[in-house]
């Protein structure tokens, strides 16, 4: 399997390049975690002493190799701020972001697919125009504003749902669901607005194709023709877009996380950038890079599943 080996090689090389880049950029940041720990009264000597104890004064190639070696053996380091292992700090954020982003994307597909198809089929009548206009409006709404409005209505006025916070699924599934509805809803609505436009244009493309005309000429209803032949063709471009959106929202969900006070990967990243807890930031970014690469790989592989013509080529 030469193709698979090549893919794996590209994957590994991307990760390696990303790690060098992450390390270089983060270590070029001004400021130091020693300042965070020692506070505003720290003398330069105290900062230097603490940096020496934390090993931050050693040359960067040494620290890079040490970091890489640690990661390969599953040791992501320890936070100098509180002595917790980096995995302990990032771990609880992974399910939060995974649920938020995963359910958000599924929600947005469930909203955008029917709306986009209707908008394509009826693009010259009022329904189509209304959907396009709503999507346009949805794209203009800032995520945080949408989240605040949803929280205001459903949590503060109606008191149906908690305004923010997170309860792990394993602790209480019912509470988990109650806490996830608003953030997932916010993310799903905002992404659905974007996705609806893609779905619409993808299906309009399908409607112009010969195979669709032939199917219609054979007496198939437009919906049947669309579902039988259209979905698979439109899916090619939609999978690409969903993959991109998924990658972007891994970090992009930070805004939703802030509004709903969820301690996901985005929040962990921002908090630790401000505290200059480089060990945590590096590990989080590496995790996100890994996730994005995996998503890209899955998207890549899914082309073959959707379109048999692609299989031979790769």
């Amino acid at each position: 399997m030469a193709a698979a080996a090549r893919k794996l090689g590209v994957f590994a090389l991307s990760l390696l390049l990303a790690s060098v880049l992450i390390f270089a950029v983060l270590n070029a940041l001004p400021g130091s975690v020693a300042h965070t720990i020692l506070g505003v009264d720290a003398t330069p000597e105290a900062v230097a002493a603490l940096e020496a104890r934390l090993g931050l004064d050693r040359p960067w190639p040494v620290r890079y190799v040490e970091w890489m070696a640690g990661m390969l053996t599953g040791d992501f380091g320890t936070s100098p701020l509180n002595g917790h292992s980096v995995l302990e700090l990032i771990g609880p954020g992974i399910p939060v972001t995974a649920w938020l982003v995963g359910l958000g994307i599924i929600g947005s597909i469930l909203i955008a697919l029917p709306l986009g198809m209707v908008a394509a089929l009826r693009r010259r009548s009022w329904e189509g125009v209304a959907i396009s206009a709503a999507a346009e409006l949805g794209m203009a709404v800032p995520v945080f504003w949408g989240g605040i409005i949803l929280a205001l209505v459903f949590a503060i006025e109606l008191r149906w749902l908690p305004p923010n916070g997170y309860v792990p699924f394993t602790t209480d599934a019912g509470e988990w669901l109650r806490h996830m509805v608003l953030p997932v809803g916010t993310l799903a609505l905002v992404q659905a607005a974007v996705l609806t436009r893609y779905v619409r244009s993808a299906f309009i493309e399908v409607l112009t194709q010969d195979y669709y005309r032939t199917a219609r000429a054979l007496g198939w209803t437009p919906l049947r023709a669309l579902f039988r032949h259209g979905v698979r063709n439109a899916a090619m471009s939609l999978v690409t877009v969903v993959g991109l959106q998924l990658s972007a929202s891994l970090v992009g969900a930070i805004v939703v996380e802030r509004v709903f006070n969820l301690h996901g990967l985005g929040s962990i990243l921002i908090d630790n950038v401000f505290q200059r807890d480089i060990a945590v930031v590096q590990a989080t970014v590496m995790l996100l890079v890994l996730a994005v690469l995996v998503i890209n790989l899955v998207v890549d592989l899914s082309y073959g599943l959707i379109d048999p013509r692609q299989r031979g080529r790769r």
């Binding site: 505003v40 900062v47 002595g83 949590a155 301690h263």
Partner: protein, 536 residues
């Protein structure tokens, strides 16, 4: 990320043939429409079902076999990174721990007075260098061990031996010569010189008495207070549990949860949504109208130890000149600034003292607002053609907002300030550490911190021997009256010399749910003191 996606929308194809148009009609088939509608209804029902509280939740509370736990939930914006206040200066650590988990020999009450805590009383020698504390014989740690003289001595010696102690604590500790136990209840602490500040310092982190048997305290607690640290969900909350064997008046709550919010609006929403009992300090006064319903919320207004200082770098050539500093002070309408930036919440001060300090006087009009006089002074100093200064502020709400007002008012007198916003860590290393700035804005949150102005290496580089002498004389004065009177002179000296521009003193804005009582009006210490808080 809509903007990312939008880039790809350019190539959208437009309708070309009539097939699609004709096909639309059949979509109107009633059955299909209904199917979509009913699907939507099902989805909505599912969503709503998820919203309703399940019946079992209320059932648990009513059942007599499981008495309801008394839980207090407090909202805050800054989360402590560690539970060890001796190696991390973050004010969020004593907010949770001081007096609630760790106790001190003496504590400062809401009016700024020093009161007994672990020490029932204390005696001061005539030369004010020797303090004898008489410990409360009932006092014991959560572990059951007594808080005796040996434990107090062990704590002071532990700090003295700790090379990694924070700079603030090292500085405060320096005055202590030695500590010795007379018997199990009596401790004598000798000072190198008389000091007004040290007993006050002992009421804060410096004086926290830790169980000598404890090991690493960065994730658990070993104190003698009414509560103990029960858990820290990083990024979310710190939970305190009642110390069942507390030696004094027991805590009123089985559990106290400090919940942390990265976004102040989320914190406000949580209180509005009924998930919080208290907002420990409102970070954005413009959110106050949300809590105007007095049947649901109470707003407690008081003072803190925070002075918002427009720092002037005395190493900048122009700012070494006291006349220029006075001119800049005259140029800024601090009344207008406070109402624009902080909704008029807070107190105008004119020097490095807050209303709860014993030596506080209202000095806010020492150098009054007068832009014409400012221009004249600048002209005299040789800057009639203008003056360019770098205003480098940390990205915190009060500083970035105030910077805008300062910028426009300075421009009115011909001073051109360029605003640079730095994230806090960068601000700490560049402005505070390297002194690379002309003007900056930051709140000094520590209690009784005017001594910083006596240190010419501090980022303000205020090299004023007259002030330094006054401050040293005040700290080492023979009587308290004399000390306070000297401290007043020191404060006036700072104001007269326009050593900095004091914009306002930060208010303490605590919002509580109706029924919550006993919140201290003034934040005189870094502690969020739970001892008088009750839900009734």
């Amino acid at each position: 990320m809509p903007y990312l996606a939008r880039k790809f929308l350019g190539g959208e194809s437009e309708p070309l043939d009539c097939w699609a148009e004709c096909g639309v009609e059949e979509m109107d088939h009633p059955l299909k429409k209904n199917r979509i509608a009913s699907l939507a209804t099902v989805a909505l029902c599912l969503a709503l079902a998820a919203c309703q509280p399940t019946p079992t939740e209320s059932g648990i509370a009513d059942s007599p076999s499981a008495p309801e736990k008394a839980v207090l939930t407090v909202g805050a914006t800054l989360e402590p990174a560690s539970m060890d206040p001796f190696h991390n200066t973050a004010a969020s650590i004593p907010q949770v721990l001081l007096y609630n988990v760790y106790e001190t020999l003496v504590k400062v009450d809401s009016t700024g007075e020093i009161r007994p805590l672990l020490a029932q009383n204390w005696e001061v020698s005539a030369d004010r260098t020797q303090y004898t504390f008489f410990l409360n014989p009932a006092a014991k740690f959560a572990s059951g061990e007594p808080v005796d003289a040996a434990a107090v001595v062990a704590n002071i010696e532990r700090l003295q031996a700790d090379v990694e102690l924070t700079g603030t604590l090292k500085f405060q500790l320096e005055v202590i010569e030695s500590a010795a136990a007379i018997d199990s209840q009596q401790v004598v602490i000798k000072l190198k010189r008389p000091s007004l500040m040290w007993l006050y310092d002992m009421s804060s982190t410096l004086g926290m008495i830790v169980d000598p048997a404890a090991g690493d305290i960065s994730n658990e607690s070993a104190g003698s207070g009414p509560y103990a640290v029960a858990g820290h969900a990083i990024g979310q909350s710190v939970t305190l549990a009642k110390n069942e064997s507390y030696w004094g008046t027991p805590g009123r709550f089985d559990e106290v949860v400090f919940r942390y919010f990265g976004d102040p609006n989320a914190m406000n929403a949580s209180l509005l949504g009924g998930e919080l009992d208290i907002i420990s300090n409102l970070q954005a006064p413009d959110a106050l109208p949300q809590f105007s319903d007095t049947s649901r919320f109470t707003v407690t207004r008081g003072t803190t130890n925070g002075e918002v200082v427009l720092g002037l770098n005395h190493q900048t050539e122009a700012l070494a000149n006291a006349d220029v500093r006075k001119a800049l002070t005259m140029a800024i309408d601090r009344k207008l600034l406070l109402s624009t930036v902080w909704n008029n919440e807070g107190t105008l001060i004119g020097s490095m003292a807050v209303p709860t300090d014993p030596w506080y006087e209202d000095l806010s009009d020492t150098v009054p607002y007068d832009p014409e006089a400012a221009k004249a002074l600048l002209k005299e100093a040789g800057y009639e053609k203008g003056l360019k200064l770098r205003l480098r502020v940390p990205v915190v709400p009060y500083a970035t907002k105030a910077a805008q007002v300062v910028y426009s008012q300075l421009r009115d007198v011909g001073v051109e300030a360029t605003i640079e916003e730095l994230d806090f860590d960068r601000w700490v290393s560049e402005v505070l550490g390297e002194g690379a700035y002309d003007l900056t804005i930051v709140a000094h949150v520590e209690a009784r911190d005017l001594g910083k102005f006596a240190d010419p290496t501090y980022y303000l580089h205020n090299d004023d021997p007259t002030f330094a002498q006054l401050y040293a004389a005040a700290d080492a004065a023979d009587t308290e009256q004399e000390a306070i009177s000297l401290m007043k002179q020191a404060c006036r000296r700072l104001a007269d010399e326009a050593a900095a521009i004091w914009l306002w003193s930060m208010p303490n804005l605590v919002i509580t749910k109706a029924g919550v009582t006993g919140v201290e009006e003034n934040a005189t210490t870094l502690s969020f003191d739970l001892s008088n808080i009750a839900v009734g």
